[in-house]
Symmetry: C2
Subunit: 342 residues, 2 copies
DNA sequence: CCAGAGGCGTTCAACGTTGTAAACTCAGCG
DNA sequence: CGCTGAGTTTACAACGTTGAACGCCTCTGG
């Protein structure tokens, strides 16, 4: 059985509260007492019982991260960043997968398990704007992503519109005129797809290029196979284009694959840019141009906001932060010579 | 403030222990009392305080999963599988990243945080055979991977040797005679690299083909860039081969990329097989033949073993389980027509 | 030499739950 | 009409920790 404060106290010949004081670096502990206690701690290999500490103190030192699925590379890299950022603050991370299922997303917020952590970083994929009122839990929440705005929670997002606009401009600047889009969502306005499509349209508009729905391919999911299918669809209907904006990297990779199979050279015949800066985009053939949405900054900001909120739940109005982004030109738009090296 | 048993008891007009009995489905609670209590629970929106329950009961309902890094696709998919398997058993998963750093791997086992969970599923990458004695913690451990054998912990592994042998045989069966290896580790015997290389050698030996170190490329890490560099290395030194066994999928993908850049057709000129069955291998160009190491089975077995061990820590001797594997022939070895569809 | 101040350590009461054991209720029965 | 015993409910003591409040000791200043 593990040693407790009482055991240490007995060995050190002091009261168990004094041991607690030593451990918590309370002032007013004589050096000699401290030494005695520390000796006893070492001797017994004492380690504090964090569960008891949590019960007494009301916080656990853990946070929950709820996201759709780790096998989606974007979320895996996001989770990596969040766990690293949390570790820097001495927090440990409980990961819940929702599978992008509405009921599971709601359940994450409702489950008593959530109270085993001090706060929730939540990236919903099934809940939407109409559910803003349902975003609440017994612990502070920081929302990630673009599916819900104006809830009473803090929120960290990437600059979808501006970044997508800049990505599109990157293609326009290369002299491309007919830029197809892969991955739009039917009727969506907010949400990553809607916002990125808006950025695309803004870029066209600013250059006086008419928007052509004929070169916009709609999909349901954002997996590689959907990108491939969408590109098939474009080619099948004889769409004419000299560039593709994949609304995320996996879509873009699926599209590249189909383009290459169909005999198009990337970027010579068709330039392709994605969005997310997944690690793997550095290694595909060609390497994929993309937008780095500032994942580390997203994670660190989310952790910081959550810690603020844990410290003082009502201390400030809900905040909304947009992180800095960067277009990363690689081979799939600028060719081998000009590309950023891996 | 959240309601407690006492609050519910007051509203229901019973003692707080009766409320506890209702919640825990104790027998001998009169139906009318149960109804009264349940009504009060609903009324107050009572939810049990899991921290207090943990303190009292001694277990938390959480387990820790320690692995190198989620941004490595293999571990992301492993984590996905473990979290799903745990969820099926009502367990929640705390994810720790070690960054394949020896000190952090040791710290995971030593940290008092570990006691916030009931057990540890641990996939070490820096610790090795010589550290078998250091594998211990205050909670039961199930080891994953092939870096440490014969510790006193339960252990789940894939059949590296046999699977690698079968993968090699797959290439031999296609008539390939000179099979290069990408990703060997200098001097390694156990560990994924060592075991898979052994399987490769066994396959050659069984067919009377001499082993040629000249077509084995050594690397330090198992990232895509290392696979690319290794393939560059092979080509630079004029190695002759008609197939490549990438000791994992990312290495194989890096190798494919370099082969294609160098003008080789895959699989016509060079057939390539990887190992791990990452999701993305289904979508590369060409789709990558690989070995499915039974990730779901690994995860479910690990969870089951851990739960056994939590229930009865010394109830049985340490167990070692090897999961079933399967070679998945895709385009990179058998070409478009014969490949398993995505 | 004594009072007051402040450093140091202690006691006591929580935190919210569950296990143990005792106590109460109410038939059924002698 | 009280005893027995099964079925219910309750009181109490943990689990291991921290915070509040108190008291003791020593040191300083009058």
């Amino acid at each position: 059985m593990a040693a407790t404060l009482h055991d240490v106290a007995r060995v050190a010949g002091v009261s168990f509260k004094t041991v607690s004081n030593v451990i918590n670096n309370h002032p007013h502990v004589r050096e000699s007492t401290r030494a005695k206690v520390e000796q006893a701690i070492r001797e017994l290999g004492y380690r504090p019982n964090l569960t008891a500490r949590s019960l007494r103190s009301g916080h656990t030192g853990a946070i929950t991260l709820a996201l759709p699925q780790l096998s989606l590379p974007y979320f895996a890299e996001l989770a990596d960043a969040v766990i690293e950022a949390a570790a820097k603050c001495g927090l440990v991370v409980l990961v819940e997968q929702t599978g992008a299922d509405r009921d599971r997303e709601l359940e994450v917020m409702a489950s008593p398990r959530l109270k085993m952590s001090d706060g929730l970083i939540f990236s919903p994929l099934a809940l939407g704007q109409e559910d803003a009122d349902l975003i609440k839990a017994e612990v502070p929440i920081v929302l990630l992503g673009e599916r819900i705005f104006g809830s009473t929670s803090d929120h960290v997002t990437m600059q979808n519109v501006t970044a997508a606009r800049t990505a599109t401009e990157h293609l326009l600047d290369l002299g491309r005129k007919r830029i197809a889009v892969v991955g739009a969502h039917e009727g969506e306005v907010i949400g990553s797809a809607g916002l990125r499509l808006r950025g695309y349209r803004e870029a066209l508009e600013a250059r006086g290029i008419p928007y052509d729905d004929g070169i916009v391919a709609y999909v349901v999911d954002w997996h590689r196979s959907n990108g491939a299918a969408a590109m098939h669809d474009l080619l099948d209907r004889g769409a004419q284009f000299d560039a593709v904006f994949g609304l995320n990297d996996t879509l873009a990779q699926g599209a590249v694959r189909v383009l290459q199979e169909a005999g198009f050279r990337v970027p010579d015949d068709v330039a392709v840019i994605g969005f997310d800066d997944l690690d793997e985009t550095r290694y595909s053939l060609p390497t994929l141009s993309t937008v780095d949405p500032g994942r580390t900054e997203i994670a660190e900001t989310a952790i910081r906001m959550l810690m603020d909120r844990i410290k003082d739940p009502a201390g400030m109005p809900p905040r909304e932060v947009e992180t800095a982004f960067q277009v990363v030109p690689r081979e799939s738009t600028v060719g081998r010579a000009a590309a950023v090296p891996a």
